[in-house]
């Protein structure tokens, strides 16, 4: 190969390559606990309200998380699973901030990072659910499993309503979302194979 031929090909290489994984959720979690270097910057942040209710919601979410590992197993591998069919889970776009503001603290909006996490998650989830046509028998209770994750997510969001953008809660929320997406991905792959 000639040198100039290589140079021609190099000039045509794209300046942008899209990452295959969505990096924002993890990044957003880290941003939430990373201050900008200029102390004069007018940072618009919510003051965390440390209430006992928030703590209890966080604990409830953590407890719920602890049982989720069991639910991730296909039905055939679970012991004593007896799960009725549930109605189809909603695949609508992410809830707008106002939709989750009906809490006792009278909070006007959700944290920005939380909203972005939810927004990206709902988009990915809807995309995966669209790809899903036939669910293999061993994942027969997949809707119930997703419903449990949804319940855990709601608990964490409730806790976040008392402590907006709290990094630990955001990480919990993100972890649950990642578990759901990994599970859905597994279903889609099983469906295709």
């Amino acid at each position: 190969m000639q040198n100039n031929k290589l140079d021609q090909r190099l000039a045509q290489l794209p300046e942008h390559i899209a990452p295959t994984a969505e990096l924002w959720p993890a990044l957003a979690t880290r941003l939430a606990s990373t201050a900008q270097q200029n102390p004069m910057a007018a940072v618009d942040r919510h003051e965390p309200a440390t209430t006992s209710s928030g703590w209890w919601y966080g604990m409830a979410a953590a407890l719920l998380l602890s049982v989720l590992g069991w639910w991730q197993l296909p039905a055939g591998q679970q012991q004593g699973a007896n799960t009725p069919e549930l109605a189809a889970l909603p695949v609508a776009a992410a809830p707008m901030p106002a939709a989750t503001s009906n809490n006792k603290a009278g909070r006007a909006d959700v944290g920005r990072t939380e909203w972005q996490l939810i927004s990206l998650f709902e988009t990915d989830k809807a995309r995966l659910l669209k790809q899903l046509t036939v669910v293999p028998a061993e994942y027969g209770d997949w809707q119930q499993q997703l419903a449990i994750w949804q319940q855990a997510s709601r608990q964490i969001q409730q806790a976040l309503s008392y402590q907006p953008d709290q990094p630990v809660l955001l990480r919990q929320l993100q972890r649950i979302q990642q578990q759901q997406l990994a599970y859905l991905q597994k279903l889609v792959q099983s469906d295709l194979s």
Partner: protein, 171 residues
């Protein structure tokens, strides 16, 4: 477009994460391309991309608009990626192109063969080559970044070109 970008930058400088999310969406491809070419590993490139955007977030209030935002961002991306490259580099000379199947190049990449060949280069030759041929740095700057002699940078660049031409001829 520029007005929108300026607005987003101004908002992000005040700590607006939604504005920063828009900046991230706009520049993640550029940053990831730099990181992937330097790290030659998808997971490391993803980590490096996150690190770059964290640094951009931290340093954003220092951006005064003297240059284009993309110009300001570029050295932050390259230096952060080089830092991670230095931490993670493993001496290797991969001759099996199938090992690179996991880098996740997009299906519509205009020259995946060349891209994969670059990723196959030995670590130091690849870093020098990417910084010189694709990112526009001079050998003296590269030598400083990679903590090598300027002559080594030139030699590694020459070596990288020879390897690339040999591999591309063979395929």
């Amino acid at each position: 477009m520029t007005g929108t970008l300026d607005t987003l930058v101004a908002q992000a400088q005040k700590g607006d994460q939604q504005a920063f999310f828009q900046l991230y969406q706009q520049f993640k491809g550029k940053v990831y391309a730099i990181c992937l070419r330097l790290c030659a590993d998808r997971a490391q490139a993803e980590d490096a991309t996150q690190e770059v955007f964290l640094k951009i977030w931290q340093q954003l209030p220092q951006f005064r608009g003297d240059s284009a935002f993309s110009t300001w961002l570029h050295p932050i991306a390259c230096r952060t990626a080089v830092d991670l490259w230095r931490k993670n580099k493993v001496s290797r000379l991969s001759t099996d192109i199938s090992e690179l199947a996991e880098v996740g190049l997009p299906a519509d990449h205009p020259d995946a063969e060349l891209e994969k060949a670059i990723l196959r280069l030995p670590d130091q030759a690849r870093a020098v080559f990417v910084l010189f041929a694709l990112e526009g740095y001079q050998h003296q700057e590269i030598a400083q970044m990679l903590q090598i002699a300027t002559g080594s940078s030139k030699a590694q660049y020459h070596r990288a070109r020879q390897l690339l031409m040999g591999w591309l001829d063979a395929e």
